[in-house]
């Protein structure tokens, strides 16, 4: 009986944990509850994906109202996969959170922190699972509002301005999305995505539909930090608490990429007016610019967290390139990179959180000699860095390999060159950290002696994600196989 209600539980289990965390008041208890909820969400996501892979899309009617009128939760290969990514990151980050949050936040804010984290998880899962365009906006706001709170909880006072900047940009993005959805509702009279896809083709030439398309693209672009709309991201990631940075970096932009895929290929996919060539002209230059500009900017950062934040914008560039090609290979690359980058960047930010716990700062200078003092953390960072560069046998290599294939399929040698240059730039910024950590002697006299390895509760989650980014670089059948099915499904070939 429960099995039939898994789609609702996927969202509602973390949702019910949020107010309970607030009631518990004690940080430790709230943590335990949030941990249980996130693991339950992960188990549900795994079951759902398994069910989708074996029997096809699942539809769930909320409140018993039939789809075009009521809210429908619809899970297919694409969002089943994204749900698994989000829930997995949540399940890995929470065990890590206890020590890190206790270190970075005062006791009286911890219960609130877990409340906001659970709401954020609810929102992200909700955006992914829903088949209703307006419901998507509601969940988007839940996840956004809670992530502003989470970012503002950072120790540095600049976290407040960063959160405010994100709030302004995020609200503009969300407003654009709701305007887009409103315009679509105006012309079609429906909010269900599948219903929209059916009703849009005859009126695809209408200016209202084109305006809706533009609003949705720009709004989603703001949310996913599409170059040049990424200015909120580096500050937000740099000043947020370590756990929040790892969680958001691995999930929030990924869910936005999924939204872009959903709007482009499910809602507008059937409309002929959406010329795929236009998509290519718009997204590929932006993706290329993101990779080149942001990778270069990352090289000049002195704060490692900020450096990785810029690198995230560049990595979003790779995914956008894949979407821009609008071919099976391109979408496969985008979706598989969604997974691989979530593992890699999540792992890297968790490793940084371990360093922040022991050092108090992640300025590149303070990492001197860390290779000897925190060997496990630093080695995790190195492996994650390799995956970011795209060294063979890491997950990053797989995504770039598929992306290069997609570019070659189109005969676009320029993009191939850009991907290679992007990898070289990544090698430069990763190497800067490695050099300081391994080849520069640490300042032995200034209290550096006491720096020891991070506790196991933080090391194990870090290594799970880093391990995943190596494992899925070798065993690609799971990730690449599902990504390819998802890509075919989006392009209308069926799963």
């Amino acid at each position: 009986m429960i099995a039939a209600h898994l789609p609702a539980l996927q969202v509602v289990v973390p949702l019910v944990a949020a107010p309970l965390c607030l009631l518990l008041r004690r940080g430790g208890l709230a943590w335990a509850l949030a941990l249980a909820a996130s693991w339950a969400a992960f188990a549900i996501a795994a079951l759902l994906l398994q069910q989708v892979l074996s029997t096809g899309p699942i539809s769930y009617q909320l409140g018993g109202w039939a789809p075009p009128w009521g809210i429908e939760y619809r899970i297919d290969v694409v969002n089943g996969f994204v749900l698994l990514i989000v829930a997995a990151i949540g399940a890995v980050v929470l065990p890590y959170a206890r020590v890190s949050v206790a270190h970075e936040l005062p006791e009286d804010q911890q219960a609130t922190f877990y409340t906001a984290l659970m709401l954020c998880l609810t929102g992200l899962l909700g955006v992914t699972i829903t088949g209703d365009a307006f419901n998507l906006f509601v969940f988007l706001e839940i996840s956004s509002l809670s992530s502003y709170v989470l970012i503002a909880l950072g120790r540095d006072r600049r976290a407040l301005t960063a959160a405010f900047q994100y709030l302004v940009m995020g609200t503009i993005g969300a407003t654009f999305i709701v305007i887009g959805v409103g315009l679509l509702y105006m012309v079609t009279g429906t909010l269900n995505m599948l219903d929209l896809a059916e009703r849009l083709p005859p009126m695809a030439e209408s200016r209202t539909v084109l305006a809706a398309f533009a609003f949705l693209t720009v709004g989603t672009g703001l949310k996913l930090a599409l170059f040049p709309l990424h200015f909120w991201l580096p500050n937000a990631y740099a000043y947020a608490p370590s756990v929040v940075t790892a969680f958001l970096a691995a999930t929030a932009t990924k869910v936005s990429i999924y939204m872009l895929l959903r709007f482009f290929f499910t809602v507008f996919g059937t409309a002929d007016s959406l010329d795929l060539a236009t998509l290519e002209n718009l997204l590929i230059p932006l993706g290329v610019a993101a990779i080149l500009v942001c990778s270069t900017v990352a090289i000049f950062q002195t704060d490692v967290k900020r450096m990785l934040a810029y690198s995230s914008v560049a990595q979003v560039g790779y995914m956008v390139l894949g979407i821009g090609f609008a071919s099976t290979a391109g979408l496969t690359a985008a979706i598989v990179h969604l997974f691989n980058h979530a593992m890699t960047k999540g792992g890297l930010f968790l490793a940084l959180g371990c360093m922040a716990l022991r050092l108090g700062s992640v300025q590149i200078e303070s990492l001197a000699g860390l290779g000897r003092r925190m060997p496990l953390t630093m080695f995790a960072f190195v492996l994650g860095g390799f995956s970011l560069i795209g060294v063979p046998l890491t997950a990053g290599f797989i995504s770039k390999w598929v992306l290069v294939q997609a570019a070659l399929e189109r005969g676009n040698w320029l993009v191939v060159a850009v991907i290679l240059v992007g990898s070289l730039l990544a090698a430069v910024y990763v190497w800067r950290v490695i050099e300081v950590a391994y080849f520069r002697p640490g300042a032995r006299d200034d209290a550096g002696e006491g720096i020891a390895e991070a506790p196991l509760s933080m090391l194990i989650p870090t290594w799970i994600l880093i391990g995943a980014s190596i494992y899925f670089g070798i065993h690609t059948s799971l990730t690449l196989g599902v990504a390819e099915r998802a890509a075919r499904f989006l392009l209308g070939g069926g799963a």
């Binding site: 019910v16 309970l20 009631l23 909320l62």
Partner: protein
């Protein structure tokens, strides 16, 4: 505001009507314009008016931060609880039909409880937000 006699008396006179009107908007919301959100805002506005005129300390005595915190969670939990009740009775999440027979009665009960949850959470949140802003720098 100690010396603004007119304001103090008028506020005291208006308070019961504001709160009663909020309850009217809450419970008549199923038949006319209104509902949980609007009612919560009006109810919260009553407290805020009281705090503006009689000082934030006296308002806090009526609505302590701890109680507000509980109310914020309780409202949301009531909403989710109705959803889970649908699940427990073998229908889908938030299906009101199964809450009580016949189905229209169930629908009525469901929307009533859900809106009540919304009202409680909104009122408590409004007051909390006001207290936090107005109380800045005092404690």
């Amino acid at each position: 505001m100690q010396r603004h006699f007119v304001l103090r008396v008028t506020t005291k006179l208006l308070m019961p009507f504001i709160l009663l009107f909020a309850l009217y908007v809450q419970f008549h919301g199923d038949f006319g314009p209104g509902g949980g959100f609007q009612a919560g805002v009006i109810f919260g506005a009553g407290f805020i008016l009281y705090a503006l005129v009689y000082g934030i300390e006296s308002a806090r005595r009526v609505a302590p931060a701890g109680a507000l915190r509980v109310l914020i969670s309780a409202g949301l939990l009531l909403y989710i609880g109705v959803g889970y009740a649908g699940l427990a009775l073998g229908a889908s999440f938030l299906d009101y039909n199964v809450l009580s027979a016949p189905a229209p009665k169930g629908q009525h009960l469901g929307i009533f409880l859900v809106e009540l949850g919304v009202g409680v959470t909104v009122a408590a949140t409004m007051v909390t937000v006001f207290f936090n802003f107005a109380g800045r720098g005092r404690d």
